[in-house]
Amino acid sequence: MPRIGVFVCWCGLNIAGTVDVERVAEAARAIPGVVHAETYKYFCSEPGQNLIKQAIQEKRLSGVVVAACSPSMHESTFREAARMAGLNPYLVQIANIREQCSWVHTDREEATVKASAIVAAMVAKVRRDEPLEPLKFPVHRKALVIGGGIAGMQAATDIAEAGCPVILVEQGPNLGGRMAQLSETFPTLDCASCILTPRTAEVARHPLIEVLAYSEVREVTGYVGDFTVKIARKPAYVDWDKCIGCMLCQEKCPRKIPSDFERGLGSRKAIGVNFPQAVPNRPVIDREHCTYFEKGKCGVCAKICPVGAVDFEQTETVREEKVGAIVVATGFDVLPREAFGEYGYGKYPDVIDSLAFERLNSSSGPTDGVIRRPSDGKIPREVVFIQCVGSRDPDKGKPYCSKICCMYTAKHAMLYRHKVPDGQAYIFYMDVRAGGKGYEEFVQRAVEADGALYLRGRVARVYPEDGRLLVKGVDTLSGQAVEIAADLVVLATAAVPREEARGLAQILKVGTDEHGFFSEAHPKLRPVETMTRGIFLAGSVQAPRDISESVAQASGAAAKVLALFSRDELAADPLVAAVDESRCSGCLACQPICPYHAIEPKALKDRQVASVNAGLCQGCGACAAACRSGAMKLKGFTDEQILAEVGTLCL
C-alpha cells in the first residue's frame, strides 16, 4: 500500500487568498493511500522544507505531492528536500495550484474544488511513479569557441587561464573581428588597436589556446560534455606552416582589389593580410580576384616566396574534435548598403557607413587616419551623421534599437572635430541612448567641448547639389525643416546578425529570434546560456552589444563553461525516453519525429529496434506519442501515469 504525503502551500496569499487550502488538505486525506496532508505558508522556505523532510521520515512516505507553484519554479527544491530525507527525488510530484488555479480564478469555491482535483490527479500519478536515478555523463574538459572577435578571445582566454584547453575557430584569416576595424573606442577614446592587438597576440601564443583561423564549424553532434565537432579549414592557397610572414607576396602581387576590411574605401592585394598587425600574420589568396586562378598565369607570389609556401593546389581539410562545451561569439554585421535609397548610399561616394568612417579615422586605414571624403580626397568641412538608419524602423528596417550607434556617432563627431577643428558635425537623431558608465557624460562632451550640433529628427533625403550633398532633415525641437550642404554623410546603419549565423544556429540546434540573433535561455536570469545545454553565447551574436558588454558576457560564458568542467561527470534528468525492446516493431516512426536526433536504429539478433541516446534526449515525449506499438515510453510520464491523472480529473 502506498504511503503518500500531500503538502498544500499557501504561497502567502498567492494561493491561500483564492483557494481554501485547509479544505484541499482535508480532501486529500480522504484519498486512499494518502497518509499525511498538511498546509504551510511557504513550503519552499527552510522551515517548510523541514516539515516535508520530517513527514517523509516519520510517516515513512513512499510518495510526495506538493501542491504549490509551477514545477518550473520549485520542483527541484522539493526533489532535493526529498532526497535529503531519504526518498528518491523522482517520487515527488508538483500539483500546480498557483499558475493553473489561484492566479487565474477569482471564485474561491470553484478554485478550491479545482485545486483539490489537481491534487487528486497528482496523487494518482505519484502512485505510479518509479524511483529513477540521474543519468551521468563524462565531461571532455576542452572548449570550442566560435568567433575570434573580442568576445570570443575573452571567453577563450578566461577558459584557458583556468587550465582548460580551447579551440578558437575564426572564419576570417585573422583574429580581432569587428574591433580590428575600429579606430578609437568610447567612452575613453583609447585606440582600438592598442587594446586589441596585445590581446590577439596573447591569445595566439597561449599554450592552451589553439587558434584555427580561416576555418568554419561544419557539423556538431553529441551533447553537453561530449560534443563532436567537424571543423573545416578553408584553402588559403598558402602553407601557413612554411610561411614566415615576410609579406613579400603581398608587396609584389600585381592585382589590386577593393578591400572589404576597408569597407571599399581602400584596396588590398589578391594575396595578403587585412592589416599589418594581423594575427596570425599569414596571407590568404582571394581566389575570385587572383589572376592565376582567373587566367592560369601570373604566379608572382609563388615565384617571390622565399620558402615556397604558396600552394595553388591547396584544398579544404576537415578535422574532428571532441569538446565538452561551446561558446558562440560570431558577432554582427551592418545593414547592406542598398537598404536606404533615399540616402544615396552606394550611389554617391561621399555617403558612407559608420564602419567606413572608422576606417577613415584609423591610422592604419586607407587615408592613414586623415579624414578625407572618398570622392575627391578633400577634407570635409561639414559632416552630417544620420543615426537610426534602419534601426527603430519596423516598417522598412529593424524594429529594435541597435544600441551602439548613439555612442559611436558621438565618438565620430568628437574625433572629426579633433582632426578638423574648423569643421562642423551635425547629428540627426531620434533619442540619444547613452545608458552606460560614463556614456551620457561622453555624449555631452561631444556637444560642449566639440561643438556637435544634435538635430532631433530623421533625414528624408540626400541628393547632390553643387558638388556637395544636400541633406534634408528636420529639427522637431524647433519645429523647422533643416537643410545642410554636407561634404560627407555618415550613416549609422542598423546592426544585424551575420549572414552565416542562421546556418550556424541550425548546425548547433540553437534557437534564433525573428531577426536571426541567437536566443538566450532566459532574457534576465540565463543570459549567456542557450536552450541547448553546454552551448553558451557571448557578444553581438545575441543582440547588438558594445565592447565592454561583449567582454563581460564572454567572461560570464567562460564561467559557465568552467562550472561544467569543474565536475567529473555531468548529471542529467532521467526523465528521458526509453524503448521497451520486446514491444518495439522497429518501424522507426519515432526517428524523424525526434527534434534532437536522439533516436537511432539498433540491431538485435533477428530484427532491428529503436534506441534512444539518453544524452541527446530532452524528454519532450514526441516519440512516445508517435509510437504505434506503445514501446516508446517517457520515464516519469508513462501512458499509465498520464491516463491515471486524466482519469482522476474526469471522474
Binding site: Q424, V447, S478, V482, A485
Partner: protein, 129 residues
C-alpha cells in the same frame, strides 16, 4: 532653414555668450525652464525654444520674440535647470543687444494682467530707450 558653419558660429552669438556668460550649447532641451516659467502662458515662444533658436544660430528670430520682454528675470529657470544654464542671463543679454541697437517700436500690447513687477520694468526699458 539652411544651416552651415557660418550661420552657427556668428559674431552675434559670440557676443551674446560674452554678455550673458552662458553657453547655449549646454542646453539639452528638456524644457524644465518652460515648465516652471511663471509667464509661460504669455511667452508665445517658450523659454527653451528661445535657447533652441540660439543653438541653431537663429539669433534674429530670438530677438524678435516677445518672450524676451515678458521674461520677469525671476531666475526660476536658472534655479531649476539641470545643466546649470541661467536662461535669465541669456534673456537679459538678448534685451541688452536689442537696447544697444535701439529697439524698433514694434506694436506691443501692455504687459499681461497679473504679470510680475519685473516684467513691467522690462517693458519700460523697451519703450524708454
Amino acid at each position: 532653414m539652411r544651416i552651415n558653419r557660418d550661420t552657427l558660429r556668428t559674431d552675434l552669438i559670440a557676443k551674446l555668450q560674452e554678455i550673458s556668460g552662458e553657453t547655449v550649447a549646454l542646453c539639452y532641451q528638456c524644457g524644465k525652464c518652460s515648465a516652471g516659467c511663471p509667464l509661460e502662458r504669455e511667452m508665445g515662444i517658450l523659454p527653451h525654444r528661445v535657447i533652441r533658436l540660439l543653438q541653431l544660430g537663429q539669433v534674429e528670430e530670438a530677438l524678435a520674440a516677445n518672450a524676451i520682454w515678458l521674461c520677469a528675470a525671476c531666475h526660476t529657470c536658472a534655479a531649476r535647470c539641470p545643466r546649470g544654464v541661467d536662461l535669465s542671463r541669456t534673456m537679459e543679454a538678448l534685451r541688452v543687444i536689442l537696447l544697444r541697437r535701439g529697439v524698433p517700436r514694434a506694436a506691443l500690447g501692455p504687459p499681461p494682467p497679473g504679470a510680475p513687477q519685473q516684467t513691467i520694468v522690462s517693458f519700460l526699458r523697451k519703450y524708454s530707450s
